[in-house]
């Protein structure tokens, strides 16, 4: 048990001290969690989705609990990329961990403008492109469901950006493999999956959807088997690294994703329930590796069915 486990993982040119990141929209801009955990211990964190202009998001109610899950329809409320770079980034720059910007636009041009603006931000390690937000009517969904659009968008962003580009995929599709392949062939450095699954909850008393936006995105423990299955399939179809997201709440689930093929994992909803869950997951991974005699955690990636 004495020997240390090597938890580092590599995606594009980036070395992550461990495979555990936080998922966009579930970790604010990082600073909010400072008093709950040592952010330096994270593999990285993905900040709340950024758009060109500040967005006020959807009207409330925006969230509703479901069995072992929750629906959200935040509507990508955010302070806009400029204010992020000016006000937030300097505050988190001090942390010795990867900061990944998550971006969202309603048309290709907006994505490009965002990518360009982030290009000059030294502390941004990579850009995660949200092509799959189900809560915004224009754009979002269309991009993420159509391989051609994903190809076009990815190619365009790759042309303007020097940063590694991660395309974040929606699970609400017939064939996620074809979308992942489109991203890969357009030059994406990695794909992350899954974003939330579209869902709806109705208040039977008022006969209205609980969410103002009617439809929201399902996240949390309930969805992890769906994510693991998709990561497994995408891993076997593409050569670029796969980042696993969806329902991770313990080292066990994080490891399931890695064994299925994820190089890194992102923890989302679980941060709300237990703010330091990422630290617990990193510890649990280390213990697992020791117990199983694994010296490099990256050895387990995609080891399922080999």
């Amino acid at each position: 048990m004495g020997k240390n486990v090597n938890l580092t993982c590599k995606v594009a040119n980036l070395i992550f001290k461990n495979p555990v990141l936080t998922a966009s929209g579930t970790f604010g801009y990082g600073v909010e969690y400072e008093k709950h955990l040592d952010l330096n211990k994270l593999g990285g964190f993905v900040v709340k989705g950024l758009s060109i202009k500040e967005r006020s998001g959807n009207n409330p109610p925006r969230i509703v609990e479901t069995p072992c899950g929750m629906l959200n329809a935040i509507g990508l409320q955010n302070i806009g990329v400029d204010r992020f770079l000016k006000e937030k980034l300097p505050k988190i720059a001090k942390f010795n961990t990867h900061i990944i910007a998550n971006i969202y636009g309603t048309q290709i041009d907006e994505f490009l403008e965002l990518a360009e603006k982030l290009n000059n931000a030294e502390r941004i390690s990579a850009i995660e492109v949200n092509v799959s937000c189900p809560n915004v009517r224009v754009g979002g969904m269309l991009f993420g469901k159509d391989p051609n659009m994903v190809f076009k968008l990815t190619s365009a962003i790759k042309k303007v950006s020097d940063k590694p580009i991660i395309i974040k995929l929606t699970p609400n599709v017939s064939d996620i493999v074809s979308i992942a392949k489109a991203a890969e062939s357009a030059g994406a450095d990695a794909v992350s999956l899954i974003n939330t699954i579209a869902g709806m909850v109705i208040d039977v008393k008022s006969k209205k959807p609980v969410l103002f936006n009617k439809i929201g995105g399902l996240s949390g423990p309930a969805i992890y088997p769906v994510g693991v299955k998709m990561v497994y399939e995408v891993y076997h179809a593409v050569k670029i690294p796969v980042i696993g997201v969806g329902g991770i709440y313990s080292a066990d689930i994080a490891l399931q994703y890695m064994i299925a093929g994820a190089m890194l994992v992102e923890v989302g909803t679980a941060n709300f329930v237990q703010p330091n869950i990422t630290i617990e997951i990193i510890k649990g991974m280390e213990e697992y590796a020791k117990r199983e005699g694994i010296s490099n955690i990256s050895d387990i990636i995609g080891s399922c069915c080999k």
Partner: protein, 241 residues
């Protein structure tokens, strides 16, 4: 924070008082809340927000059994451990130059009781008006009580009971059903007095990161958990509530 339950007892109809061992580190202002993890597994998934009802060598929460989470909570026993996150949010601001009036409806009295204690500690005065549906719901042993069915105290709603006492120099602290708060907001507008209201909203994180608990204010979207739960009533877009 894993803490031990000291006691958990029903105090009136569907209403329970839970006392949780208070580690020395824990201090809070009236109006602040905690996020309670009902079970140490994934069901129910989200933490439940509860206002601090009292704080001494125990952290006390007064809660009403309304759904699955609060039902489970009501079954917890002394000695069981419970995970709470807090104190969170911004509380009431006690002003000395005003006539202080506390108006609570139903379980909304919880944060006001803590406020009352702090006002008393400062040797200041305040008036308290608490409304319930009926006698069996009453879970406080002071103040002016109104019941909708007239089974105790003033018959009718608490706002009507308090209406004559509200003056321009009043500062109202209010918590309760939205409909009561709306009525009060109108009244404050008419009487040109001030009011701090504690609002409720569905919450996932309780600490300003999920953006789930938004309310529409004059300054755009505000977060009940981190901008509130106590707001100046003038900032709230009441017509949207």
């Amino acid at each position: 924070m894993q803490l031990q339950i000291v006691s958990n007892k029903q105090v009136s109809k569907d209403t329970y008082l839970i006392k949780i061992d208070n580690p020395e580190v824990f201090d809070a202002y009236p109006g602040q809340f905690v996020m309670v993890r009902v079970n140490n597994y994934n069901y129910p998934l989200l933490r439940r927000p509860f206002s601090i009802y009292n704080l001494s060598n125990t952290i006390d929460l007064l809660y009403r059994k309304v759904g699955e989470g609060t039902s489970m909570l009501s079954l917890k026993k002394p000695g069981d451990s419970i995970d709470i996150l807090g104190p969170l949010g911004n509380g009431f601001k006690i002003k000395s130059d005003k006539k202080l009036i506390l108006i609570g409806g139903g379980i909304g009295i919880a944060p006001l009781c803590f406020l009352k204690k702090k006002i008393d500690e400062r040797k200041m005065n305040c008036e308290t008006y608490f409304g319930f549906n009926s006698k069996d719901e009453i879970c406080v042993d002071y103040g002016n009580i109104a019941t909708i069915d007239g089974s105790f105290g003033y018959k009718g709603n608490v706002v009507d009971m308090a209406i004559d006492k509200i003056e321009e120099n009043s500062l109202i602290y209010a918590c309760g059903p939205t409909i009561m708060l709306k009525k009060l907001a109108l009244l404050c507008h008419e009487k040109k007095c001030n009011m701090e209201v504690s609002l409720e909203s569905r919450m996932a994180c309780g600490m300003g990161v999920c953006l789930g608990c938004a309310v529409e204010t004059k300054n755009g979207m505000s977060l009940v958990c981190s901008d509130g739960p106590v707001f100046d009533y003038k900032d709230i877009l009441w017509e949207k509530m």
